[in-house]
Symmetry: C2
């Protein structure tokens, strides 16, 4: 654990922020201190309704686009573009309170504070401001992850997203209609995008640093794998006759892990965390396993080599388990930079606020990874205690929550003045 | 495939048998030619209602005991014990038409034919006759397998069985009430038990033999294993921080398979075919995997050694995957003989009918494995094409279906005369 430095009591604005964060954390709250509010579930619907009321109560106009992205607009100058800030309120099953939710609430408070400052000054900003809660960033119920921002950024057709079904067969379209947060808003014209998120790693904590300035992404590749065997009796089928899909899948899980274990020079994160097994009976050899493989590295060429090595291991697994394995890459991104000018802007603000900062890469995907390709984007991190995330025990201390929001407020304020307009 | 020998057209009785088998195969029929009628599902309810009508239509009196075992009684002498014959109508998900269902239908037809013969002769048998459809032999929806016969044989408390829940949380009690086949019948007093079943292996087919006479069981051990890790982000969590329950489970699947691969001298069948993964999300390292391990061998001491070897491999897996593994043996049986006199009786009948036979072991568990401990039991096999079972492609040729039923008829007739009474 990072030792908590003595920090002053929060001011009035940050007291309101922390109070709202406690309210937000009650939606889908779990006994273990986390939340369970997967995309377009009832709990997601409730928190969206709460955010809707918060935004209208603070003078924002709320709109929903065709894939459930929730926007709150504050318009100083009709027709002018918007500085957009936000993240996602949806969570993993038994996820933490901070992942995504902090970024949406910090954006709402920061945008509100910026609006108040502009109003108090009597001046008019160059750009309007808007808050966003992206639909289905987590991708646990509906795949792929970062769905709402991908549609907004033109990387995923809205129709494809809407037709996607969860394991129970419910489509995104039906689930969004169920919670009532789907509309026909086309989305705002953008001047810039800013997002703040918990780090979900240990780098800031280990360095005793409050703010991470994201300079680029790790590369990632995601695969859907289907292992096909044949159903037979677990007791009586002789071993050499078996075509065991779960044995084949298990060999692949081990091979995926060994890729990372062999990688000493360059970091490589590999995982299989999801399997659907058919028929999943204690006395029937599995006929099919569908699984999801995730590979990530800060080095694109190294990731390419790892993917090749994995592909080369498949025939041996097929032979040993007498199965057929189909691998389809479903999703991925390269090592991609965020604009240097955005990192510099945030660093300058952090210095002025007396916040220690460092430039770093993001390993996890974020909505900003989609957004940086359509508008100048700034991505900020605050620390995660012990690097724990996608876990009920996720934690970020209040003083970091407040410091991050103070920073985001100032960044949004400067973006509204046109700070990154040369990058558009 | 065994080459089909030229066989005569079935007689009137066997034509009726084959017609009824076709009717029975339509309950829960799947597009792939199999059936899906797990215990106490709607399809199981429908076939039970059909059997109920068949039995009453042929003069049997139908009763249900407290765990859903379905009995059809034909009483010549009130107060006299019964020769009981049957098997189970429930199937695996996407199972075959023959597994269990053949044994119940053959028993119904054989008992009816025996009744007709006794009636035609004018003599009264020493014992009455009864047919049984045991509840939940398969154990895919509710564990353990062979549930109904285990309760009948006093090996499993009825209350434990009734409180067992399926993965959706429905109890056996609730499911049986739903399909309406639960009663308070105490069950018949028994003189003997006879069961016929498909082999689910290749031994008869390879030997070109029609009838298997089961002399004893393979030993089996079944374990419930829980692998406990910790939920974390699949992307950002550094590899050495991960406590990946699915990686631990996969290492165990491979270790279980390797037990069998290393076993050259003595057959050992090992499998893992069922896992429940939490939270089973593509971007969350699994916190828990619950799995089922099945070990079987014809040699008890060898099975004991294999179980020890498996136990010894656990600490290394726990260390490598940073998980905790809990192993509980839930179920098992030793190498246990069926009475020699029953094998001899069936061999004598087979010889008289001109049916080739061999004495063999059963690898799969059957209701007769429970029943042999409470009454003299005879267990018979007919061939399975290619040894395929627990698969929609399960197949036994009509002439074997008929030959087995002819044999069972004669065995039941002789048991009703008191053939095994010295074994009681």
């Amino acid at each position: 654990m990072r030792s908590a430095s003595a920090s002053p009591a929060p001011d009035e604005q940050n007291t309101a922020l922390l109070k709202d964060f406690a309210t937000l954390s009650a939606f889908g709250a779990t006994p273990g201190g986390g939340v369970d509010r997967q995309a377009a579930t009832a709990a997601d619907g409730e928190q969206r309704a709460w955010l809707h009321r918060w935004l209208t109560g603070h003078g924002f106009e709320v709109h929903y686009d065709g894939v459930g992205n929730q926007f709150g607009l504050f318009t100083f100058t009709p027709g002018a573009p918007y500085v957009l800030s936000g993240s996602h309120l949806d969570s993993q099953p038994l996820g933490g309170r901070y992942d995504g939710a902090y970024g949406v609430l910090a954006a709402a408070h920061a945008a509100h504070r910026a609006v108040e400052r502009w109003r108090a000054s009597g001046a008019s900003p160059r750009y309007n401001v808007a808050v966003v809660n992206w639909f289905n960033e987590e991708g646990s119920r509906f795949k792929p992850s970062m769905m709402g921002s991908a549609v907004f950024a033109g990387k995923l057709p809205a129709e494809t997203a809407l037709a996607t079904t969860d394991p129970a067969g419910t489509s995104v379209r039906a689930a969004l209609r169920e919670i009532g947060t789907i509309g026909d808003y086309a989305g705002p014209d953008l001047a810039a995008y800013a997002e703040i998120h918990i780090e979900q790693g240990r780098e800031l904590e280990n360095a005793g640093t409050t703010i991470g300035l994201v300079g680029s992404t790790w590369a990632a590749r995601k695969y859907q794998v289907i292992v096909r065997g044949e159903q037979s009796h677990t007791g009586s089928t002789i071993m050499t006759d078996r075509r065991d899909a779960l044995f084949g899948a298990s060999l692949l899980v081990v091979a995926v892990r060994e890729l990372a274990e062999r990688s000493a020079a360059v970091p490589l994160h590999t995982s299989v965390s999801e399997m659907y097994i058919e028929p999943n009976s204690p006395v029937v050899v599995a006929r099919e396993v569908r699984m999801h493989v995730d590979l990530r590295s800060p080095d694109e060429a190294f990731l390419e080599d790892a993917a090749k090595e994995l592909a080369e291991s498949i025939p041996g697994i097929e032979e040993r388990a007498a199965v057929d394995i189909e691998v389809v890459q479903t999703h991925g991104w390269g090592v991609a930079p965020f604009p240097r000018a955005g990192v510099d802007l945030a660093a300058e603000v952090a210095d002025e606020l007396g916040l220690r900062h460092r430039t770093m890469m993001t390993i996890a995907g974020h909505d900003s990874v989609n957004m940086k390709d359509v508008t100048p984007a700034v991505m900020l991190f605050v620390p995660s205690a012990d690097g724990i995330s996608h876990n009920e025990g996720e934690f970020t201390p209040d003083h970091d929550i407040c410091a991050g929001t103070d920073l985001l407020t100032e960044v949004i304020h400067r973006l509204m003045s046109g700070a990154l307009e040369s990058q558009r």
